[in-house]
């Protein structure tokens, strides 16, 4: 209720100041037919429908943004005894925030998202918005912002002559949204009923980012104090409860051209980081780093990434994690055709991988048809291997429109 009142207040403040507001908006509608690849057993995947509306009201220094989104998945229409209702359909006001801009300041308040860092897929310093993993991000590899969960935040930017500085305060708690037990992308060991949330494990996230453009280099520094995006299981008064452990992080990013390539890096040290173990939440620490290279030439786009994480705790055997990605996209603009290949690899004790191939064709202005094939590989206890029986083919029809 408090959040609703806050949002209404934001709208009223903006509306009162709107002498001659301008409006711009856009959206998309999408239908996707999904099929299981190979001879894998399982329910008919059926269709997935998605609609999104995005609007912006401008009046000088004030601006209001809103994004409304709805989804429906026919696969879960008759499977309510196996999965929670959330997988059948949902609709939400994803984002609603007010922006006030001055010469050197900008303030954004409301439900929104903020991306930190230079990495794709691997979240080295991107700590603010938890992910929605109910469909393992498969619909959102190309539109990662829809895979993030917006949350209530107050973001203040100061633009100095040399440094840009950003302060973020997020009081609203959000957690990584996992696929419920019984659904296709439910993680191994996902309980049918989740334990209660430990209310004591809640608080405010606060973070700072400084940014400078120096001698051709984009350099960013980060500091964060708050809570892990993932809920973990622990015991509280002999009861199993869910809790977001605290985390503290400092990090940095760099991006700069190197000949035909662009180098980008993220690095972070979490000196306090919770980790799920069999006995509960282990108070640990870790260092993560990513090295990436991008190249765009003659309608070819290459993205290469290698990331690693080292844990400093003593109890776990999984002290090092390696991840990598290779993405190649070719835009055949003469034929309104785009093809892409993505390869994600995760290695802890064993390696697992995800392959994704796509072909998209614009057959009319703002009308696209796309085909995608996704394959998982690895042992059952690995990140991608646990979904080894979820290989699938997807045919998508999408219409983008302006409002």
């Amino acid at each position: 209720m408090v959040r609703i009142q806050l949002l209404l207040a934001l709208l009223l403040v903006n509306g009162a100041a709107l002498a001659a507001p301008s409006f711009s908006g856009k959206g998309h509608a999408e239908i996707r037919q999904q099929e299981r690849a190979g001879n894998e057993a399982g329910d008919d995947l059926g269709q997935r429908y998605e609609g999104l509306l995005e609007g912006q009201i401008n009046n000088g220094r004030l601006k209001t943004n809103a994004i409304l989104m709805g989804r429906y998945r026919s696969q879960y229409d008759d499977a309510e005894d196996k999965v929670r209702d959330e997988m059948r359909s949902d609709a939400e006001l994803r984002e609603l925030y007010l922006t006030w801009s001055a010469d050197r300041f900008e303030v954004r308040a409301g439900k929104q998202q903020q991306a930190w860092g230079r990495a794709d897929y691997f979240r080295i310093v991107d700590v603010w918005n938890p992910l929605d993993l109910r469909e393992f991000l498969l619909p959102y590899f190309d539109n990662y912002s829809l895979g993030r969960q917006p949350r209530g935040m107050l973001i203040t930017d100061y633009f100095g002559d040399t440094w840009e500085q950003q302060l973020i305060i997020a009081a609203q708690r959000k957690t990584t949204r996992l696929a419920p037990a019984g659904s296709d992308f439910a993680a191994n060991g996902m309980p049918a009923t989740l334990p209660a949330v430990n209310e004591e494990g809640s608080g405010v996230d606060i973070g700072w980012r400084g940014k400078i453009f120096w001698s051709g280099n984009d350099i960013e520094l980060y500091a964060f104090h708050g809570y892990h995006a993932d809920e973990m299981l622990t015991f509280e008064n002999a009861q199993l409860v869910r809790e977001q452990p605290e985390r503290d992080m400092v990090g940095t990013s760099l991006a700069r051209p190197m000949g035909d390539w662009v180098l980008r890096t993220d690095a972070a040290h979490y000196w306090r980081e919770g980790r799920q173990t069999a006995s509960g939440i282990e108070d640990s620490s870790r260092t993560s780093a990513l090295l990436g290279f991008d190249r765009v030439e003659n309608e070819w786009t290459w993205n290469l990434q290698l990331a690693t994480t080292h844990w400093y705790d003593e109890e776990s055997n999984h002290d090092d994690v390696w991840e990598s990605s290779v993405s190649v996209e070719k835009n055949w603009s003469r034929y309104r055709l785009t093809t892409g290949l993505l390869w994600l690899v995760n290695w802890v004790d064993d390696s697992s991988q995800l392959w994704r191939a796509t072909v998209n064709y614009e057959f009319l202005p703002q009308w696209k048809v796309g085909f995608a094939a996704v394959a998982f590989d690895g042992k059952d206890d690995t990140q991608f291997g646990q979904f080894d029986n979820q290989d699938r083919l997807m045919l998508t029809l999408r219409r983008d429109f302006s409002l």
Partner: protein
């Protein structure tokens, strides 16, 4: 899509930079003419609304609209391109810093992708690729670099009732310039209006593209290209670049030329 977004930002510049070739009528040495074109006075800043209309060889028409801000910072020029239509491109932004040719520095460019909510640094070493999938390349729309070619004055010709200086340009070794992808050009300059009115591009002796100014208007004392066409002789098709609204010296704030504007957009 990333490439498309990237090219969108650059396309805007083409309208700006190509018509910006200023020439002194009394100068006949090609290098001097083109240096004057490169350093032409386009005002302290400029705001424009641009339309990029691409007609492909099969008749498919793709149109993009964008707002563009440009500003001089001494010998440096900065530009922001913000796409407003169509829906699948709207919200994309490009930030470009162009440095003085004598400095030897490559441009710096950033691309904002609304789908990622992040800015990406763009490598600018090679610019022969198509800009937003159009018939313009990144090299076509960047700030003129005189040192890319050797020049030869070929006298004057009459085109559409105007006397134009014809300049032949070629690389020192006769091979294609690795940054632009062209080995030879024929440039037609209107010395009185201080503009390049026509530019023919060659690769390995083959005429591959022709740029032509098809609309010109004096706005607030500055000759401004309001329409230009790039015809692709290899792939077929052409791209029209329209400048619908232009205002000069409006006092565009310096603060707008950073990544913040890419995210927030131009009003």
């Amino acid at each position: 899509m990333k490439l498309l977004l990237k090219s969108a930002a650059l396309t805007l510049l083409s309208l700006t930079m190509l018509p910006a070739f200023a020439v002194s009528e009394k100068s006949i040495k090609p290098e001097v003419l083109l240096e004057q074109v490169r350093d032409r006075d386009d005002g302290d800043d400029r705001r424009s609304r641009m339309i990029l209309e691409q007609t492909m060889s099969d008749g498919f028409v793709r149109e993009r609209e964008l707002l563009m801000l440009e500003k001089k910072f001494g010998a440096e020029r900065k530009a922001v391109l913000y796409f407003t239509a169509p829906a699948d491109t709207a919200g994309t932004g490009i930030l470009m810093f162009s440095y003085e040719e004598a400095s030897g520095k490559d441009d710096d460019q950033w691309l904002y992708l609304p789908a990622l909510r992040q800015s990406r640094r763009i490598a600018t070493n090679s610019k022969e690729g198509p800009f937003l999938g159009t018939d313009f390349s990144f090299a076509d729309i960047e700030r003129l670099r005189v040192d890319d070619y050797l020049y030869e004055d070929q006298g004057t010709v009459e085109i559409n009732g105007r006397t134009l200086h014809k300049i032949a340009a070629h690389t020192a070794n006769g091979l294609e310039n690795p940054r632009t992808g062209y080995s030879q050009r024929e440039i037609f300059v209107d010395a009185e209006r201080q503009l390049i009115m026509r530019d023919e591009f060659y690769r390995e002796g083959r005429h591959i593209k022709t740029f032509e100014v098809t609309g010109l208007k004096e706005i607030e004392g500055y000759w401004t290209v309001t329409e230009a066409v790039m015809t692709n002789h290899v792939e077929g098709g052409f791209t029209r670049l329209l400048r619908k609204e232009t205002t000069y010296n409006v006092g565009i704030a310096e603060r707008l030329f950073n990544e913040r504007t890419l995210r927030s957009g131009i009003q």
